[in-house]
Amino acid sequence: MYVLPRWSHPAILYLRPVQLPSRLIEAAVDQMATLPGIGRRTALRLVLHMLARDEDRVRDFAEAMVAMRSGVKPCGTCHNPTEEETCNLCANPHRDDATVCVVEDVRDLLALESIGEYRGLYHVLGGVISPMDGVGPADLTVDALVSRAAEGGIKEIILALPASMEGDTTAFYLAKRLVESECMLTTLARGVSVGEALQYADEATLSSSLLNRLPYKG
């Protein structure tokens, strides 16, 4: 009999190719495990959950996925996902079309929308430049942004990219490409976060806050 080594964790069992009771289950697990953040263990749990459901509900689930994939496409203007040619943000006449906020992906757009204060439009870049991961400007919607700016009518472009090395580099690259558009380029303020004690802020954050300090407005 094979005795497990002392350090074996139950999870290790799932890393080994365990024979599943059915090929169909096996195929479903393989598919599920292709999702980000889902390992084989979780995939199996989710698949067994599906197996226990009514067949109709599983069909609804699968159909929702397929319908979503075939019905949603990027907005022709800002690349925000939409079912129409133009997304509801770009189509909204009450929004300020002279201001465009550039974000890495839809999640950042949603975060900015959730504050309910920004009234301008967006441009979803679809990632940031990272040669190591094989992502260059051609993989992003950079050209679309440049031609959008060249059309005129945009006064300000806000670069709301992540505060990482790749985010900064992308912002630098965009700034170079957007020079000719003569739009005002701004970037999000970077510094001590709201409610944070100064003593716990890291040095880079604190020095950025000090460097970009503002006139006191009371």
């Binding site: 002392r6 190591m132 260059g136 090395m165 900064d168 580099t169 992308t170």
Partner: protein, 374 residues
């Protein structure tokens, strides 16, 4: 700074050890493979968050055990601090100071300084420039946080820039506007590093020269200088990187920058690497380490721990004795020594009146030996 107590669980061949240490000299004596050096390495772990010998944490866990723990009670600037490092197989290492885990290990480096002198040190002279840059980086990082941050940033940027150059070569394309953002990011940080390195070499040299003279008895003249093709002007660095673009494209990597710096060691007017004898090279490295210790103390106000592994491999008995005498006059703080010879080191200290604790190490067990009276 003192390490008062060391606690090891499943660290290399130590299944469990509890050692109370003395404030001056701590000798670990035992046969080959008994685990003497592992005690020193445990101290290295606490000071630098990693092993001196094996960078893979999981391989420092005793065979067949699920985890390891290295814990030390320090006294630093009259404050007691507890540092612990736990590694579980398959999990990230947990490094804590006063029971609070670090989010960035870089925050710990330099807080508890130490200097190690080990038999493989001659590699510093023999091997490529990377070894010497690493040595310089390690010393400067122990007192200059901004330097370490800039270095990490430049290294990451270089990985990206080189990936881009490889992409250009593989796809037979080129776009200078894609390189520009990386140059713009690297140049100012490289300037910070270039400035710190130059200042370091200038400040370090006098102390090193006098230390070498003491060890060698003034027999020969040595030198140490920085070779670099960048200066501390960000614009000049950016311009040089721009100039080197064609060369970079051809070689598919960044050819100009602080990652090409080297420290040149000389003996008289010749390169120590080629013309120095084994003994001269060993003396050079020992002097380098000792000067490094004094330098760190001066820069941080904390006396580093000195770890001497198998010191007799390096220098003759007479010189070791001279070295040990300096321990007692307060040149060094706490010292950890290993030796295979049971009586040799304790005998050397017999006449100096130093506080010497002797530990016998046998198959991963550390036993206190009564101080020898000679």
């Amino acid at each position: 700074m003192l390490l008062k107590h060391l606690h090891l669980v499943h660290f290399k061949n130590h299944s469990g050890a509890d050692v109370s240490l003395g404030p001056q000299v701590n000798c670990f004596l035992g046969d080959n493979g008994s685990g003497k050096t592992n005690v020193l390495d445990a101290v290295h772990y606490l000071c630098f968050c990693k092993s001196y010998f094996n960078p893979i944490d999981g391989q420092n866990i005793a065979h067949g055990e699920p985890f390891m723990l290295v814990q030390g009670d320090f006294e630093r600037l009259e404050v007691e601090e507890r540092v612990s490092c736990g590694v579980k197989r398959g999990a990230k290492k947990q490094f804590k100071r006063n029971d609070k885990p670090y989010t960035r290990l870089a925050d710990h480096i330099g807080r508890f300084p130490a200097v190690m002198i080990a038999p493989d040190d001659a590699a510093l002279i023999q091997e490529g420039s990377e070894m010497r840059r690493k040595w310089m980086d390690a010393v400067i990082s122990q007192y200059d946080r901004a330097y370490l941050d800039a270095l990490i940033d430049v290294n990451k940027s270089l990985v990206q820039r080189n990936a881009l150059l490889r992409y250009f070569a593989e796809n037979r394309t080129f776009d200078a506007s894609l390189l520009a953002p990386w140059d713009a990011r690297i140049a100012p940080k490289a300037a910070v590093i270039a400035k710190a390195r130059k200042a370091f070499v200038d400040d370090f040299l006098p102390g090193f020269l006098s230390t070498y003279a003491e060890i060698s008895g003034g027999a020969e003249e040595v030198g140490l200088s920085l070779t670099t093709h960048v200066n501390d002007d960000p614009e000049a660095i950016a311009a040089k990187m721009h100039q080197a673009q064609d060369e970079d494209r051809r070689l598919r990597r960044t050819t100009v920058g602080i990652h090409k710096d080297d420290v040149v060691f000389t003996l008289g007017t010749h390169a120590l690497k080629r013309f120095g004898s084994q003994g001269q090279q060993k003396s050079f490295v020992v002097a380098l380490r000792l000067a490094q210790l004094a330098f760190i103390e001066q820069a941080t106000g904390v006396k580093p721990i000195l770890l001497l592994d198998d010191i007799f491999d390096k220098i003759d008995e007479k010189r070791v004795e001279a070295l040990m005498k300096r321990v007692t006059n307060g040149t060094f703080g706490q010292v950890f020594i290993t030796d295979t010879h049971l009586g040799r080191i304790p005998d050397m200290f017999a006449s100096t009146g130093a506080d010497v604790r002797v530990f016998e190490v046998h198959q991963g067990e550390v036993k206190v030996q009564t101080p020898s009276k000679a």
